[in-house]
Amino acid sequence: MIRQFFVCLAALALGLTACANATPAPSAPTIAPTAMPATRAPSTPTIAPPTLPATPAPSAANVIPQSVTQDGFFALGNPSAPVTLIDYSDFM
């Protein structure tokens, strides 16, 4: 009985050392994902340019006159337009 116990214990110890020896192995797959940026790198230049033209209003703002009202607020459009539309708003 005691002998069987020691045999099991020895087998367990061997198993653990086998696992311990195996621990470096998982590090290999974790290296692989870190190598991902190399594959991601080419995509970054394609992402950067479209961000600017994606917003429609800047193009309008670039061609429509901008001004500041007498009380210091920013205005878009003909300063002497017959109608003034005030937008009280929050960027949030």
Partner: protein, 145 residues
Amino acid sequence: MLTVEPAIIERYVRAGRVKLVFRDVLNHGERSQRTSEAAACAGKQNQFWQMHAILFERQSEVYATSNDKLVDLLLTWGKELRELDQTAFAQCLTARAPLKQLQAADAEQRARGITSQPIFEINGKRLAGLQSIEAMTAALDAALK
């Protein structure tokens, strides 16, 4: 205004019939203040409406950013405006140069009942809440008659 603004700009502002004025309502604490400051800082370089468009388009990104990271985010967006002097923009933003003026305007507006957003005034006539393009068009056409 967010959804109907492009149509209003195309139909009325670009045609020279309507002048659009933006006034900040500071209803969401630090995020409201920081985004309004960014627009005002860009405005000092005649780029207010360009920054205004970016800010409205990316509201969810501001919501997802913690207060201590807001300036960094806004500086990044400032870099997209090619005509913006980045050093001056950064100085304005970090010094919070427009904040007092924005807070004073917000207080003055609150005294007049402007406590929610959006609220519109068309030649002084007030419209509260989000407006459909039909409602806005009708109000502008009536003012233009």
